[in-house]
C-alpha cells in the first residue's frame, strides 16, 4: 500500500497537501488543472522534493531517506526519458546497471524487452532516429527493466496525438497488469483517466483529494471535478 501520511510538499513557494492511501496494484489518475500541484506531488513521490511535513510510506516503510534511485519507484517524464547520445541498448542497459557493466544475461534481458515492445533489432539505434511512438515504447522499456513496484507517469506521451497516446496507455495497462505494478498517472485529460484508471484523485488549489473509484466519480462529480469539466 502507498500511504501519503499528512504530506505537504513545497516547491518554489507553492504547496500541495495529501493524506490518503492507495492499494498496491491500483491504477490512479491524478486529474486537475495545470498549476494545481499534480506534478509537484509526483516529484515528491519520486524523491526529487523532500516533504516539508508528513511522510510517504510504501508497504509501511518511510521513503524519506531514500534517493530517487533507491525508491521502489520508476518514472516516465513528459519528455527526455532517454539520453540522446546513447543507443537504445545503452539507454535500457543503464536501467539494468548504472555503470553499464552488462553481463550476457543482462544483454539478453534488454533484447527481450525490446522485442516485447516491438523494437527488436533497434538496440544499436539512437533516439533521434526513432518515431514518437517508438520513443514512447523505448521509454516504457526503460521502466520495465527497472522493475519497480510503483510506476509514476507525468503526462506521458502528451505530444503524440490522441490515437497513439491511447495505444501506449493501453500498453502501460497491459504491462502493469502483468507485473502487478501500482501506477500513478498525472493528466489533465479526463478521457485518459476514464480509460486508464480504476481510481481518480482530484488535485485542485494545492490539495490532492483522496482517490475515488473512476466510475463513481464521473457518475457523480464532486464540485472540483464539475468545475474542471466545465
Amino acid at each position: 500500500m502507498l500511504h501519503l501520511d499528512h504530506l505537504t510538499l513545497t516547491q518554489d513557494g507553492f504547496s500541495v497537501t495529501a493524506d490518503w492511501s492507495l492499494a498496491a496494484g491500483a491504477r490512479l489518475a491524478l486529474l486537475g488543472p495545470s498549476g494545481a500541484g499534480k506534478s509537484t506531488l509526483l516529484m515528491g513521490l519520486a524523491g526529487f522534493i523532500t516533504p516539508s511535513a508528513g511522510r510517504v510510506l510504501w508497504q509501511g516503510k518511510d521513503l524519506a531517506t531514500l534517493s530517487p534511485a533507491q525508491r521502489p519507484v520508476s518514472i516516465l517524464f513528459q519528455d527526455q526519458n532517454l539520453f540522446a547520445h546513447l543507443t537504445l541498448a545503452q539507454n535500457l542497459g543503464l536501467a539494468v546497471h548504472p555503470r553499464l557493466a552488462l553481463s550476457t544475461a543482462d544483454r539478453a534481458r534488454v533484447e527481450a524487452v525490446l522485442k516485447r515492445l516491438g523494437l527488436a533489432g533497434y538496440g544499436p539505434r539512437k533516439p533521434a532516429s526513432l518515431s514518437g511512438g517508438q520513443l514512447g515504447r523505448a521509454a516504457l522499456g526503460r521502466v520495465l527493466l527497472q522493475a519497480r513496484p510503483i510506476l509514476l507517469l507525468d503526462e506521458p506521451f502528451a505530444a503524440l496525438g490522441p490515437a497513439l497516446k491511447a495505444d501506449l496507455l493501453g500498453l502501460v495497462s497491459e504491462l502493469a497488469a502483468e507485473n502487478g505494478t501500482t501506477v500513478v498517472l498525472v493528466t489533465h485529460d479526463p478521457s485518459d483517466a476514464r480509460r486508464f484508471a480504476d481510481v481518480v484523485g482530484m488535485v485542485h488549489d494545492g490539495v490532492a483529494d483522496a482517490p475515488v473509484a473512476t466510475q463513481a466519480i464521473f457518475a457523480d462529480p464532486p464540485p472540483a471535478l464539475r468545475a474542471y469539466l466545465g
Partner: protein
Amino acid sequence: MANRSLQISAWALSGGIAVLVLGTALALALQAKGVGLHPADWAALRFTLTQAALSTLLSCLLAVPVARALARCTFRGRRALILLMGAPFLLPVIVAVLGLLSLYGRNGLLNQTLQALGLPTVTIYGLHGVVLAHVFFNLPLATRMLLNGWHAIPAERFRLAQTLGLPSPFRHIEAPMLAAVLPGIALSIFLVCLTSFVVALTLGGGPAATTLELAIYQALRFDFDPGHAALLAGVQFAICAVAVSLAARFTLAEGLGLGLDRAPVGQKAHWVDAPVLALAALFLILPLVAVVADGAPAVLQLPALVWQAALRSAVMALGAAGLSVTAALILVQAKVAGAAWVEGAAMLPLATSGLVLGTGLFVLTRAFVRPEALALPVTVLVNALMALPFVFRVLLPQARDLHRTYDQLAQTLGLCGGARLRWLTLPRLARPLGLGAGLAAALSMGDLGVVALFAGQDQATLPLVVQRLSGAYRMDQAAAAALVLVVCSFALFALCDIGGRRAAP
C-alpha cells in the same frame, strides 16, 4: 541533493583558489616595504589607469561601427571575418607586438612609406604604442560581444521601425541595446588592459610609460627588491579587485561563444559599412601577415633551443589546460546543482594577475626553495588559474542545459560518480570542454608573465625565447620563433576544439 563527493571537491577547489588568490595578496600586504609609493610608482599607477582607460574608450568606440556593419551586411567572407575577430584572443601577445612593430616600428612599413614621401617618421614606443596594441587585441573582442547584442535584437523591431517611418533605428532600438551592453564590455576590456604586461614591456618602458605590472617585474628582476615588488603588486591587486567587482554585475567573455555566424536580419546595409569593414579587416590582418612574412624565411634555421622551448611550452600548455578544464568542470557542475557561490570562486582569478600571483608565490616560497626550481610548475598552475574564469564561462550554458534536461533521469537511474561522468557528462559536454581546453592551452602557450620573473637561462618557454631574441635585436630569429609560437598556439587550440567536436555525440 547534489552528489556529495562533487560537493566536497567543489568546496576544496574553491578553498584552494581562494587561498592562492587571497593568500598571495595577503603575503604581499605583509611583505610590502613601507606604505608610501615613490614618485615613480605614482607615475606607474597613473600610466596604468590612463592607458587602460584610453585603450578601452578607443576599442569600444571603434567596435560600434564595425559590429553594426557586420550586423547588417551579407557578403562573401563574412564568416571568415567574424572568425578572424576571435583570433587576437588566442594570439600570443609577444607575437602580435612583433607584428605591430613590423608595420609601425622604427623601420616598419609605415615609416618607410613616410620617408619615401619625405614626411617625418613616427615612433611606436610610449603611450600611443601601448594603446595601439591594446586596441588591436580588444577591438575584435568588443566587436564580437557587440555583435551578440545586435543579434539579440529581434528582426521584427527593425521592421516595426520601418513601418513607423522612423528616420533611423538608432535612437529607439540600437542606442538602448548599446547602453545596456557597452558598460560590461568596457569593464572587461579595462580589466584586460590593467593587467597587460608584455605590451608595456615591449612598447612601453621608461619613466613615462611603465605600468604597475612592468614596475613589479623590474623591482623583482633588476632591483632585487621583493618588498617594493610586493607593495606594487598589492596596489595592482587592489585596483583589479575594484574593477572586477564592478564588472561582476555584467557577464564576461560573451564574445568567446559560438553561433555568431548567423545571417544578419532586419536591416539594410549602409554605404559606410564597406570601408569600415575593409579598414577593420586590414588593421587585424596586416600584423598577422607581417608575422608570417618576417618569420617564414628563417624558420628552418632556428637553433635547437627554440624547438626545445616550443616543446616545453606545448607540454606546459596542455598541463595547464588539463588542470583548468578539470577545475572548471567540477565547479560548473556544483554551480548548476545549486551551489551559486561557486561562480565567485571561478571568477576570483580575474581579481589578480599572473604577475601578482607569481610575486606572491615568490615571496611565500623564497625561504624554502630557489625560484628557478618552481618556475615551470608555478607557471603551469598560474596559467591554469588565469584561464579558469574563461573556461568556466564556456562550460556554463551547456552544463546548465544538461542539468535541466537529464538530471532527474540520471537520478532515477542512480547514475552518479564515475559512471555519470563517463556516460553522461563527458559525452554531452565534449564540445565546450574541447573549446575550453583549446582556449586554456592557447592562452597558456602564449603567456609571458610569471615565467619571465622566475625562469633561469635553460628553462625558457617559447614566448620568453621570442622576447629574449627580440630584446637582443636578433629580429630574424625572433620573427621566426614568433611564427612557430603562433602556429603552436593555434594548433593546440584547433587540436582541442576539433577533438571536442569529434567526441561530441
